[in-house]
Amino acid sequence: MAEAVKSCECCAEEPTEEELLERLDAVIAEYKGKPGALIPVLQLAQGIFGYLPEVALKHIARELRKPYSEVAGVVGFYSFFTTVPRGKHLIRICLGTACYVRGGVAVMDAFKKQLGIDIGGTTEDRLFSLEIGRCFGACGLAPVIMIDDDVHHRVKPKRVNEILAQYAEEPVLAETRSA
């Protein structure tokens, strides 16, 4: 994830696919031949691309000499991995047992309504993506959500606006809201 932040802050322009693949090559070079290389390479690739596009997955399969079906199988198994572009900020609503019983669903519904997207979706301005998370290990503070690496605890539906405002780069949120 650190990679993603770096790539966004240091580059004035969007990096080209070629540049991103070059960065991926550096990661692969580091892990190639090591046992268990696939998962860390996928994690770092997701950091580089923001998600796992087909071009990256096929490149990883070729370079690590792994079957594409296995690469896809691992990507599909872990909810952390995504093959669709995510927004700048990833919101993960915990629906683990504790968060669920303490109103996680209501929180989720509030985010869905506020952002105008469903679970797995991304706002049109590519600012927010919404996903369900499983337990973050903060059950005492339920219901919990994570936005990027920040944990927000005891979230109430009416606080959703206030939380989103911390991440919105004005005027984007307003647009989102109107949409």
């Binding site: 997955l57 096929k58 399969a61 070729r62 792994k66 079957p67 594409y68 079906s69 296995e70 690469v71 896809a72 199988g73 599909g76 198994f77 093959t83």
Partner: protein, 590 residues
């Protein structure tokens, strides 16, 4: 060595034995489903549950190591209930159409339900997601019938090292298949059908083409001829309850004649022809390399096995020049039948239908390759697997076991023992050596009983070297040369040989590769179930067939000699080049 007690029977087993294997040794039968002898024991299906004294829960015997003093019970109420429940839960999600499923006769899940005495289905629930993939000529996948036992995944990834199939997704939504629900035709699948051979249910089967053959036979405007691969005669009997390794060549011919084919021919004929072409090609390559100092691709790889060709095109496109340009015997047959033979009997190629019976699913794919039309039309029209032929004969109401032994028709049914052994790993190489030796030295092949022992047997990679003594005439340059050969069966083993060649670890002149473990006798289209013992029995039968022949060397086949005299000219000549040789295409490995 641990000693344990299974159902009161004391049994001593080697270290590393599983409870399931120990039970077998003790004569106790434990039902299994996902287990695959020598290939997979992962405890995924939980059908092999047993009670182990002191264990908190029932354990899966296939993946439980046997330990000293262990007390195992395989037939308690708890065990019976556990196994029943496991199978009932599998049935509750299995989207089967059992009455009309292609596996209704040999479905392992259905047999298991019966054996465990499941009388009613207590659970109802969501069915497995059904998606039918009919994208390839060879195989049809039905995800609704899949029980996620992962046998196909293990065979595809660990035996064949192709990796076309893998578990996708998670939990109940898990689907076994290619990446992102792609069609098999869009991925690296080589269509070898080893997945279909091990699938316990109807989730992966060959494309059934019996109806197409009926239609051809009933069309009065068509001359319909059939060829049978060498491996069929040693396995077809299993479809009619003969033990594995029973030779049924004569009955097979009689059955095909009664089915109404206009001529019953033998792929053995073109196996002999392949030896003439491929052997000549090898000698020419060696001459170019050793005498003319030209750059030629060596080792030469055999090209009879279409799954292997597919594998090379995807995974080693940099070595396509090493593949023999010879078509496989099936395709040589189609091309010769629709030209030479069609002219002989005065039939136009478009009015002739060539049906193949193959131990293979990839042969369906091979016949459909667009370049395989050198007769002007598709050279081989319809390919049936051994299993389909068994079903075809049954459909026709033919009582196979009571049939007399009959002979193949001339001329394309005439063959030698060298062609028979194309059925098993090491056979193509042995057949090639028998002929190459005699052409080069003009002396009899010096191996006892004509067998080259180091390249026989089920070992995945076998190597041998033959020192040439007494080379004559054009081939004098080979005098004293050490001809190094390798034989691999199973694509994972083939890749090992390629890696040896690429790294310089070993040097070979000729490499035989068969896609399926043990060769075509263990092909993806053979009767189920092909175990190691079944492979051995079929191979022994094939060697018996070879040894029982008067002619056992391809260059002695009188019909092949006549073909060259009347039609082709010389091996690797211009007409051969047009009809019997082909080219290959580069594909991506993902």
């Amino acid at each position: 060595m641990p000693t344990l007690t299974i159902d009161g029977i004391s049994v001593e087993v080697p270290e590393g034995t599983t409870v399931l294997q120990a039970a077998k040794q003790a004569g106790v039968k434990i039902p299994t489903l996902c287990y695959l002898q020598d290939v997979q024991s992962i405890g995924a299906c939980r059908v092999c549950l047993v009670e182990v004294e002191g264990a908190r829960t029932l354990v899966a015997s296939c993946s439980q190591p046997a330990t000293d003093g262990m007390v195992v019970k395989t037939n308690t109420g708890k065990v019976r209930d556990g196994r029943q429940m496991v199978v009932e839960l599998l049935l509750s999600e299995h989207d089967g159409d059992c009455q009309v499923c292609g596996r209704s006769a040999d479905c392992e899940l259905r047999t298991l339900a019966n054996d465990l005495g499941i009388g009613d289905l207590r659970y109802e629930g969501e069915k497995t997601f059904k998606m039918i993939d009919e994208s390839t000529p060879a195989l049809i996948r039905d995800t609704g019938k899949c029980i996620s036992c992962r046998r196909c995944v293990t065979v595809c990834n660990e035996v064949q090292e192709v990796g076309g199939l893998f578990a996708q997704g998670r939990g109940f939504a898990t689907l076994i298949g290619p990446a992102f629900a792609q069609d098999l035709s869009d991925v690296v699948c080589v269509q070898c059908g080893q997945c279909a051979a091990v699938c316990p249910v109807g989730a992966i089967q060959e494309r059934n083409q019996i109806e197409e053959v009926w239609a051809a036979l009933e069309d009065p405007t068509k001359t319909v001829i059939v060829q049978t691969a060498p491996a069929i005669r040693a396995a077809l009997g299993e479809c009619f309850d003969y033990p594995a390794g029973t030779l049924v060549t004569g009955k097979m011919v009689a059955a095909l004649r009664r089915l109404g084919f206009d001529a019953v021919f033998d792929t053995d004929f073109t196996a002999d022809l392949t030896i003439m072409e491929e052997g000549t090609e090898l000698l020419v390559r060696l001459k170019k390399a050793l005498v003319d100092g030209e750059q030629v691709a060596l080792p030469q790889f055999s090209s009879c096995s279409p799954g292997w060709i597919n594998y090379m095109e995807h995974f080693n496109p940099d070595m396509l020049a090493n593949l023999s340009t010879c078509k496989s015997p099936q395709q040589m047959f189609g091309a010769i039948a629709k030209t030479y033979y069609a002219e002989k009997i005065g039939v136009k190629p478009e009015d002739m239908v060539v049906v193949s019976v193959m131990p293979c699913t990839a042969k369906k794919y091979e016949a459909a390759r667009p370049e395989m039309n050198d007769s002007g039309v598709q050279d081989v029209d319809i390919v049936l697997t051994t299993r389909e032929l068994g079903a075809f004969i049954t459909q026709a109401g033919i009582d196979f076991r009571s049939l007399p032994d009959e002979e193949m028709d001339a001329p394309l049914g005439i063959s030698t023992g060298a062609a028979d052994i194309f059925a098993n790993t090491g056979g193509v190489m042995e057949a090639a050596l028998r002929t190459a030796w005699e052409i080069v030295t003009e002396t009899p092949f010096p191996f006892p009983n004509l067998h080259v022992e180091p390249i026989q047997g089920l070992e995945g990679v076998k190597v041998a070297s033959v020192k040439v003594e007494g080379a004559k005439g054009d081939w004098a340059f080979l005098e004293g040369a050490e001809l190094k050969v390798a034989v691999a069966s199973g694509l994972g083993n083939a890749q090992k040989v390629i890696d040896m060649v690429k790294s310089g670890e070993a040097e070979f002149h000729f490499v035989e590769v068969m896609t399926c473990p043990g060769g075509c006798i263990g092909g993806g289209g053979q009767p189920r179930f092909t175990t190691k013992e079944v492979r051995e029995a079929r191979i022994a039968a094939i060697y018996r067939e070879d040894e029982g022949r008067e002619l056992r060397k391809s260059h002695e086949n009188p019909a092949v000699c006549a073909l060259y005299e009347e039609y082709l000219g010389a091996p690797c000549g211009e007409i051969s080049h047009h009809l019997l040789h082909t080219h290959y295409f580069e594909h991506d490995r993902v």
